[in-house]
């Protein structure tokens, strides 16, 4: 019944990145936090996967553990694998003689102000990965850095490359970060809340830039965000995370127009829409996410879910496929479920 990621990939071709069964926990004074509790997804070249969820749902930890950015201890990858073109990358820094970080997978962070080194010029910082991973001389790398700044549409790139981060605005710094992360032409760009710190007009510029760069280079993007508007603009596929698990996964249209998990629906109802045909009163999701020190045995959303049944408290639901690429982790999709709430999507044979 459940869909393994391998079955989802088209024609059995190997996905670029395949993460399966990832579990991460942190040991703290208060006990063990089960931050990621079994996450599967895959990403293909030229595509954007958005991982959406609220603070504390484990979306950042998922990609950080994949990148080897989790401090261990206190962090620990309990189980799972992440394969880049079939090669395991968890716990490794190098595959096939190439560094993973910065070379195979680039990353941009939420706050460009604190992610760059204030004592180095922008150009030198962009040049650094080229010197480290490609063995360029400083001069070669710096010249290339200027080209990268031009690629990310920073005006007067030659002059700007010699400036320091404090001389850049937030939007320009984010462009410089993008230039640095794509310097070695990574196969995957991980963007962790890339526009959350930016104003809406600058956000639009950065999202357009990411889209254009993806079209030019064919890289895959993993976008971490809590903003469904950003998801709608950029993503091809969406994974909705809640309490350390992916509760719904599908194409962007599946998730937005055929929402089949009550949490996805709850998120959409909690946001205002400007579509005159879909106007509604804001419906907050009451309560708060479960405590991941002692994660619930059943569905983490059950205590807040308007449709919760007894089984939801006791057993975690399997992945119920809605179509080849769309699944929902919700007991309502079990053939014997007693109710089919009208506003949720159910595939025809279950109706």
């Amino acid at each position: 019944m459940s869909l393994s990621p391998a079955q989802q990939s088209d024609n059995g071709a190997q996905p670029l990145l395949q993460v399966s069964g990832l579990e991460v926990e942190f040991t703290t004074y208060g006990g063990i936090v089960h931050a990621v509790r079994g996450v599967d997804f895959e990403v293909n070249s030229g595509q954007t996967l958005a991982i959406v969820g609220e603070s504390g749902c484990g979306k950042s930890v998922t990609v950080q553990s994949m990148m080897g950015l989790i401090p261990m201890p206190p962090g620990r990858i309990v189980a799972g694998s992440a394969r880049l073109r079939g090669e395991e990358i968890l716990g490794r820094n190098i595959i096939n003689g190439k560094d993973i970080r910065g070379n195979e997978i680039g990353m941009i962070f939420q706050d460009p102000m604190t992610s760059l080194n204030p004592t180095m010029t922008i150009g030198a910082q962009i040049a650094e990965p080229l010197q480290v991973h490609r063995g360029y001389s400083y001069q070669q790398a710096f010249t290339h850095a200027i080209e990268l700044l031009e690629m990310t549409r920073i005006p007067e790139a030659t002059k700007r490359a010699r400036q320091y981060p404090f001389e850049f605005s937030g939007g320009m710094l984010q462009r410089a970060m993008i230039a640095m992360s794509i310097a070695c032409k990574p196969a995957i760009l991980v963007a962790d809340e890339p526009t959350t710190a930016l104003d809406v007009t600058i956000q639009a510029q950065i999202l357009d830039l990411l889209k254009d760069l993806q079209a030019e280079t064919g890289m895959a993007i993993i976008l971490i965000t809590h903003d469904l508007g950003v998801v709608a603009r950029l993503a091809d596929n969406v994974a909705v995370m809640y309490a350390g698990k992916i509760v719904e996964h599908g194409s962007v249209d599946d998730v937005f127009y055929r929402s089949s998990h009550p949490y996805t629906l709850g998120l959409r109802d909690a946001m205002p829409t400007n579509d005159p045909e879909r106007q509604h009163r804001l419906e907050p999701i009451e309560g708060s996410p479960p405590d991941l020190f002692s994660p619930p045995a059943g569905c983490g959303y059950a205590p807040r879910c308007p449709y919760a049944m007894r089984i939801c408290q006791q057993f975690y639901p399997e992945k119920f496929p809605q179509s080849d690429s769309h699944y929902s982790g919700c007991w309502l999709h079990h053939p014997q479920a007693p109710q089919h709430p009208e506003r949720l999507y159910f595939k025809a044979e279950n109706q």
Partner: protein, 318 residues
């Protein structure tokens, strides 16, 4: 509609080093009717928070006036002015983490206003704090806890209770939801809506989330680099923007709807908001404006009412 509050040519400049001046708010005239919600939008640095604070007297005014129920408020508040106005005008802050004193219990934070303004006894204050904690969806016995024991959404409720307990008529909500998660945002917005109706409040709702401002507000005001550039009914301004900057803002606002996003032309404008220290002559948006004309670089447009619409726009196109 009776006017509750109005600002005329309200201006706030900050002096910084070397005799330079930050033009944070420049000549903003806005009138707010009783029981109305005015949404104020703009990018960071547009002066919307400074406007809210200057309006309340938290900043000394550089020029211009604030009129409250027909009374012109002093240019610089004395302690007695704060004492008098704090029971009528209150503020809810953006960051629920830094706006609550970590050394005070929730009961002390919420009850402080009553103690200062009405010199009530401890038992009466405690009863009212308990009542307000319940009204904002918390529990009465939370009053002995400290702010760090609460989540962001709960802290924002504490901030709301603190503002409401003095039964003000007018509240400035300065980005009250931007630090919160989506599901919690809706909780706080609905709570504000209920309180607004039951207490007959008037709100100035400052935010950068256009969809939320449109949802919440009766009228929408758009600021850019210290100037008010467009004002009108919220839906009208959102769906039929007249000022080129408002148009850009609306076009940049991503919607949680893939169909709309796919049809959206890539219209992002180049450039960023200039520094408010060296404000350009003429229209402040001229250097980024897609419809810029020669006159825009020379003469500052006034906020004028449009003939055929319930709208005020500061743009030479009209």
């Amino acid at each position: 509609m009776t006017e509750l509050l109005a600002t005329k040519q309200l201006t706030k400049h900050f002096k910084i080093a070397r005799g330079q001046v930050v033009h944070a708010v420049d000549q903003v005239s806005l009138s707010i009717a009783e029981k109305e919600i005015v949404g104020l939008v703009g990018e960071s640095g547009s002066g919307k928070s400074t406007y809210g604070k200057t309006l309340l007297g938290l900043h000394q005014k550089t020029a211009g006036t604030v009129t409250y129920r027909g009374e012109v408020l002093p240019q610089k508040y004395q302690p007695a002015d704060f004492q008098r106005m704090a029971t009528r005008m209150q503020m809810i802050f953006q960051d629920p983490y830094s706006s609550l004193n970590p050394r005070m219990t929730v009961g002390e934070i919420i009850g402080e206003g009553l103690k200062l303004h009405y010199a009530q006894d401890a038992i009466s204050i405690r009863d009212q704090v308990a009542e307000w904690l319940e009204r904002v969806g918390l529990e009465a016995d939370h009053m002995s806890r400290y702010p760090h024991e609460f989540s962001g959404g709960q802290r924002q409720r504490i901030g709301i209770a603190r503002a409401m307990i003095l039964k003000p008529e007018f509240i400035v909500c300065d980005e009250p939801i931007s630090a919160l998660d989506v599901s919690v945002q809706a909780q706080v917005i609905n709570l504000l809506g209920e309180l607004k109706n039951s207490m007959g409040l008037t709100l100035l709702f400052i935010a950068h989330d256009l969809s939320m401002v449109r949802y919440v507000s009766d009228r929408m005001a758009v600021m850019y680099l210290g100037s008010l550039i467009e004002l009108g009914p919220a839906d009208e301004v959102y769906f039929r923007p007249r000022h080129p900057y408002t148009e850009v803002l609306v076009n940049s606002n991503p919607e949680a709807d893939p169909d709309i996003e796919r049809q959206r032309p890539s219209t992002s404008i180049q450039g960023e908001i200039p520094s408010p220290v060296n404000v350009p002559a003429g229209c402040r948006f001229a250097n980024r404006c897609p419809k810029v004309m020669d006159v825009c670089r020379e003469i500052t447009p006034e906020l004028i009412p449009l003939a055929d619409l319930d709208r005020q726009v500061a743009c030479h196109l009209y």
